[in-house]
Symmetry: C2
Subunit: 341 residues, 2 copies
Amino acid sequence: MAVTIKQIATLAGVSRGTVDRALNNRAGVKGEVKEKIIRISNELGYKPNLVAKSLATRGNNHKIGVLVNAKGNDFFSEVFRGIEVAKNEIADFGFKVQIENMQGFDVDEQLTAIDRLVKNDITALAITPINDTRIKNKLAELNEIGIPIVALNTDIEGCDFTTYVGCDYYKSGQTAGGIMGLVTKGVGSILIVSGSNRILGHQLRVKGFTQVIQDECPNINIVSIIETNDNNEIGYIKVGQFLRKNPDLTAVYFAAGGAVGGVKAIMEHDNIHKIKIIANDLTDDRIKHIKSGIIDASICQQPFQQGYIAIKTLFDHLIDIAKVDGQKKFTQIGIKIKYNF
Amino acid sequence: MAVTIKQIATLAGVSRGTVDRALNNRAGVKGEVKEKIIRISNELGYKPNLVAKSLATRGNNHKIGVLVNAKGNDFFSEVFRGIEVAKNEIADFGFKVQIENMQGFDVDEQLTAIDRLVKNDITALAITPINDTRIKNKLAELNEIGIPIVALNTDIEGCDFTTYVGCDYYKSGQTAGGIMGLVTKGVGSILIVSGSNRILGHQLRVKGFTQVIQDECPNINIVSIIETNDNNEIGYIKVGQFLRKNPDLTAVYFAAGGAVGGVKAIMEHDNIHKIKIIANDLTDDRIKHIKSGIIDASICQQPFQQGYIAIKTLFDHLIDIAKVDGQKKFTQIGIKIKYNF
DNA sequence: ATGAAAGCGCTAACAT
DNA sequence: ATGTTAGCGCTTTCAT
């Protein structure tokens, strides 16, 4: 049987209340008494029982707020699944989870959404932050009043108090580059289709991809990088135009959204599937294309884990298992091909 | 606030004890009273609070036994990590975990090890079962006396009461075949190096691999399948011999152990890395070879998750969240190349 | 068959 | 500054 607060109390010759105060740095216990209690606790290797603690506090009315810009973005459905599973696991500990799902990347909208959550008495926040100074300042403010913050899926610069939970975008791009090297046997001319150069993750992917291709595949020529703003229409038009001018293209790397349109353009142009295609993440369309052999591989980032870990990280903080700080919790980078679904 | 047993008691006009008895099918509550309680419970959508339940029962002295044939097998270190994490998570619920690690695949040894665990009062078992009738019978016996069983990493035939937690070996082989198709561009002659045809998982991998190559790569010729018994010496010798007779080999697929030896033979023979290599799982050696470019890709099976999920599955059973039955919990099949570690 | 009460380990409100 | 006590939701023992 594990050592309890009661045993420590007996050994120290004090009451359980005093032990509780001493061990939790609550006010009102004399220095020497506190020291003695802590010493005994260490000697016995005391570990507080989280189950009992939770039952007693009923989670202290903790509520974790989740704020994501996920509307219209299929990718996030798995993130939500992870959040949901974590939510159920911590429900019996008395923890609530409130989700706000937004569309687009308007700073003002995100700011008011944050305020709304705070009004709803959240005690922790998981957010896909816009990489903007005003957001940064707002988060710093929340952190100041004791609200731990997790940056979910996308990181924000200059917030060294948040824990980032998401993928390493640079490495993700490198992995795409590595696969590209394999499927092309290191020869040919390729096109990169990105989302937007203003989005940090997209930038990093392109960078990582380019680095690997340049370092390892001297016989591959990156012909061009085009941007779609994550829009399928634009992807369709721009890729189509490009193909007409460069009919002998070897491969395409889709670093972000707009791939559905881009792939459509490729299919119309290349009916014998000569052009190799590497993409990122999984949506229903993506999976269909991989299974049918149109897309050769997709580089994934464990969205379920991202949702799950984000919530659990905040839970661990609130329940005193581990504190949220400036660390990066990178999810693994997976490779999906036709056969490993 | 969630609905509690107390509320139900008040509404039903009985005591909390009676509600507890009724809801948990304990003896000593009149039929009509029981029905009424259950009806009210359903109407309110009552969900027992697991935290409170755990505190009250202190885990009922549950102890999960783990029996794995992992000695001398690097692969399992990640499985153990997963077990350890799960063990810590359930410790505060009053659950113990006892691990027995064995070497080799002797049926009698495994039987006595099982008995030893039972003598140690385990109330659940996670095991890497030898695919043998006597083991099967023993497990059926345990199941009979109420010990839930999880087959961990390797499945056993004819035990429809166990939950299997591990990878889909056939799909794993298919994935290797798919990657092989990519890296060879569907042309060449390849060698399969397996462990033992007596081991179900190895058989399935070879099958899956062969199927994909035959169906999708008519220009690839599988020259031969050799067995190493998971032994590096044998791998070194046999692969070396083979290469001397077949100097123009294109690629090798290592479906199981013995790869370190086999790779060594290839390196001695092929110093410009013309021969493509696909392997399975990750060990320190494997990672080194992938990072240095000797091995092009390795097909993985989430060993950490296997350990973690096995324990959590048994925990869920013992705590009444979900019952162990004949289902298969397949872990995902990952692909590792130089860049996605 | 059912109720009453104690207790799991901890916290927090109330005394002193 | 410290002790006492009630209580979190549930199980279990002991009465009745």
